[in-house]
């Protein structure tokens, strides 16, 4: 879009009409007609009105975008910004009852995107003289990234402190803490997958398989063997890591996209096996799932009002009144601890030879092989470590839910975790946190938009890849590099550790 010539107004109109015609043709079968199930057969309903409205939004939007590029950014901003603000007010206060909320949403989305683009253009025009502003004006994200790298040192500890204090802050009720647990679970999964995708550069589409292995391992160990959560946790992690090695061993010599599809196949295979219930203890339940999974205890103390004979209740021991939120807060701190361990482990291992080897392998496999790095073993370690963290998270999931079934571990779950890593910026730890908060927390707050959640996921994945293929907060550059500065010796490496 940047390279297009500035066109005259009739040309822009023609272009908008063509875009409108193409989108009309695209929309005609699927938007224009709706198949409705009746008792005996399916019937048609017509939605031409909505279809033409949507097509008009697209065509007008295209025209406004061309006008923005042609130097009319300010005028476009005047049209779209009020529309966007109005849409926000409408969503917040429901001023007018909307007959077609989807169409209103589409209009708002288009107006907001165009307004942002027009705003970027006006900033760019204004900043024509100021070189620094010009460099950053076109890319607001770049400005955000510089901001992050400047304050990145404080951001991590501040976020950690907030996470630790969160359950005791005044606004934290049980629902908030529950959402916090959910977000932290995905942050942990994201950090675990980040080892595989972000550091080692292996696209794993079946990550949820290891999550499932961890969950089922914990369920079996606690129900069949009788181990408690803390005894079963390392075993479940080891179990998932073993699966990672077993699955990874034959396939890791494959190239990127083949590997992605094969891991996807493995993920589905594990789900199908669990669904069909192999004859192995409780696994035979198959699609019915496993219930009554024990809750974790605090040094042997249970979080119940009436503990089992011989056991002590947490609330009795500390002389507190029993409240279900105590258990929720305890779960919150377990997952927080697990997430911190994952993060700390990842940050440390990046500085070990194996971590350096992962990044080197991601950048250039052939060069690595020439330098005597064993690609298969290096990849296998990344795969196993990533799987281990998924196993921990899976055990936590099982103990938190108390019930697991194969349906919790479908491909969409893998896709969501991958989306968190990709949107956050592959290899960036802070990015994963932000992406998890937006992608997991967002739908929890906007419940009425939940139906559009996966649509937005897919759309965002495409948009981010097209717009910033390295992710929003990209950190794909290697941790250490050969120095460029002539003052340093050529072989010296600048050990500029990035605060990730």
């Amino acid at each position: 879009m940047q390279n297009e010539k500035i066109r005259s107004f009739p040309e822009m109109v023609k272009d908008a009409v063509i875009v409108g015609a193409v989108s009309a043709a695209l929309a005609l079968p699927l938007v224009g007609f709706k198949t409705v199930d009746r008792t005996t057969q399916i019937e048609l309903e017509f939605r031409f009105g909505e279809m033409f409205y949507a097509v008009a939004v697209i065509a007008i939007g295209r025209l406004l975008l061309s006008l923005t590029a042609a130097g009319k950014a300010r005028a476009v901003l005047f049209i779209t910004a009020p529309l966007s603000i109005l849409g926000l007010l409408e969503y917040a206060f429901e001023l007018v009852p909307m007959e077609w909320p989807e169409l209103a949403g589409l209009t708002w989305l288009a107006a907001t995107i165009i307004a942002i683009r027009a705003w970027v253009f006006t900033r760019r025009d204004k900043a024509a003289d100021d070189a620094v502003a010009r460099a950053t004006a076109g890319l607001p994200v770049a400005a955000v990234v510089t901001l992050f790298s400047r304050f990145g040192k404080f951001l991590g500890p501040a976020a950690a402190a907030f996470a630790i204090l969160m359950p005791f802050l005044p606004f934290a009720d049980q629902r908030m803490v529950d959402i916090g647990i959910l977000i932290l679970t995905y942050i942990m999964l994201g950090w675990g997958l980040n080892v595989v995708v972000g550091l080692a550069g292996l696209l794993d589409l079946g990550y949820v398989a290891f999550y499932a292995v961890g969950a089922y391992a914990y369920a079996l160990l606690s129900l069949e063997v009788g181990l408690n959560f803390w005894e079963a946790l390392p075993l479940a992690g080891a179990c998932a890591a073993t699966f990672g090695i077993l699955l990874g061993f034959p396939v890791l010599r494959l190239r990127g996209d083949y590997l992605a599809i094969v891991t996807l196949g493995f993920g589905e295979m594990i789900r199908l096996v669990l669904l069909n219930g192999p004859d192995f203890g409780l696994l035979a339940n198959g699609a019915k799932g496993i219930g009554d999974i024990p809750r974790p205890s605090f040094f042997g103390m249970e979080f119940t009002a009436a503990p089992k004979p011989g056991a002590v209740a947490f609330s009795d021991y500390f002389g507190l009144d029993f409240s279900p939120i105590q258990r929720v807060i305890y779960l919150y701190y377990i997952i927080l601890l697990l997430a911190f361990i994952t993060n700390w482990f990842t940050l440390r291992i990046r500085k070990l030879p194996i971590g350096r080897a992962w990044e080197a392998l991601r950048e250039d496999e052939i060069a690595c092989r020439a330098l005597g790095i064993n690609p298969r073993n290096t990849k296998l370690t990344a795969f196993a470590i990533g799987a281990m963290f998924a196993g921990f998270a899976g055990s936590f999931f099982a103990t938190r839910q108390g019930f697991i079934s194969p349906e919790s571990f479908n491909f969409m779950e893998s896709a969501v975790i991958l989306a968190i890593v990709v949107l956050g910026g592959m290899g960036s730890q802070v990015g994963v946190v932000l992406a998890a908060i937006v992608l997991i927390g967002g739908p929890e707050w906007f419940r009425d938009l939940a139906a559009f959640r996966m649509l937005a996921f897919g759309g965002l994945m495409v948009a981010v890849m097209v717009w910033r293929p390295q992710g929003l907060l990209a950190h794909r550059e290697p941790t250490i590099k050969l120095a460029r500065s002539p003052r340093e010796t050529p072989v010296a490496v600048s050990v500029r550790e990035k605060a990730t």
């Binding site: 695209l26 938007v31 199930d37 048609l44 996209d257 599809i261 094969v262 069909n276 052939i366």
Partner: protein
Amino acid sequence: MEYFLQQLINGLTLGAMFGLIAIGYTMVYGILGMVNFAHGEIFMIGGFVSVITFLVLGYLGLTWVPLVLVIMLLTTMFFTSLHGWAVERLGYRALRNSNRLAPLISAIGMSIFLQNYVQLLQGARNKALKPIVSGGVELMTSASGFTVKLGYMQVVIVAVTTVLMAGFSLLIARTSLGRQQRACEQDMKMARLLGVNVDRTISLTFVMGAALAAVAGLTWLMYYGIIDFYVGFLAGIKAFSAAVLGGIGSLPGAMLGGLLIGLIEVFYSAYFSTEYKDVAAFAILVMVLIFRPTGLLGKPDIEKV
């Protein structure tokens, strides 16, 4: 023997459909080196467009079956290939020169988007259609009373697939478009220097792949009488397995691989267990990639520095 023959017929029918989808994967991989993960969704959209076309034709009062089938075929191919074109234009074109993972992730996003787009627009429930072509001939009956049936629909599917594949092979082998397509596959930069419009050729590759997937979607709907927004995921993975089995990048390989995957799936569920038939397809994919990564008819892939 009769049971075997029946499974052979069913397997060939299923394999023909997988072959049609697999061609789209193999062509895109051949020219761009990327796995078009959204191709299964294109197939699913093909099925939905056929349902809607059929209902519209019924609404207009057209009932003569051959005409209905021809119109359905043409409209489905048209609208579905438009979707294939749009997917390439919006999701992949900007990423043509970026790292290997970016187009794949974009394709996964596109696949999730299209699945939910169709689900939101057309509802999450199965769309069931009464059979348009029913009946068949009984080929033979065994002593134990098992009858081998060849449905007319199966004949139509295999005939349409054969005609389309023959026409498509001619298109690639003989026409100037096919020559340009093969030139881009071999060396995109050189083809561009020699005056081939690379963007247009890639777009047309997606259009052709989507048109064939549309036919697969139509025949799938006719054969099973049911379609939902999720059907593209499994069918897409199996067709990709077929493309890999036949040797990715090779057109005859995709057709052969499709037939083999169809036969394997049908025979596996007939003689072993239906529960694990999907696992069988994945297992084949993994085995092929481990023991013969170039597939049955593929060329060895040399990695250049």
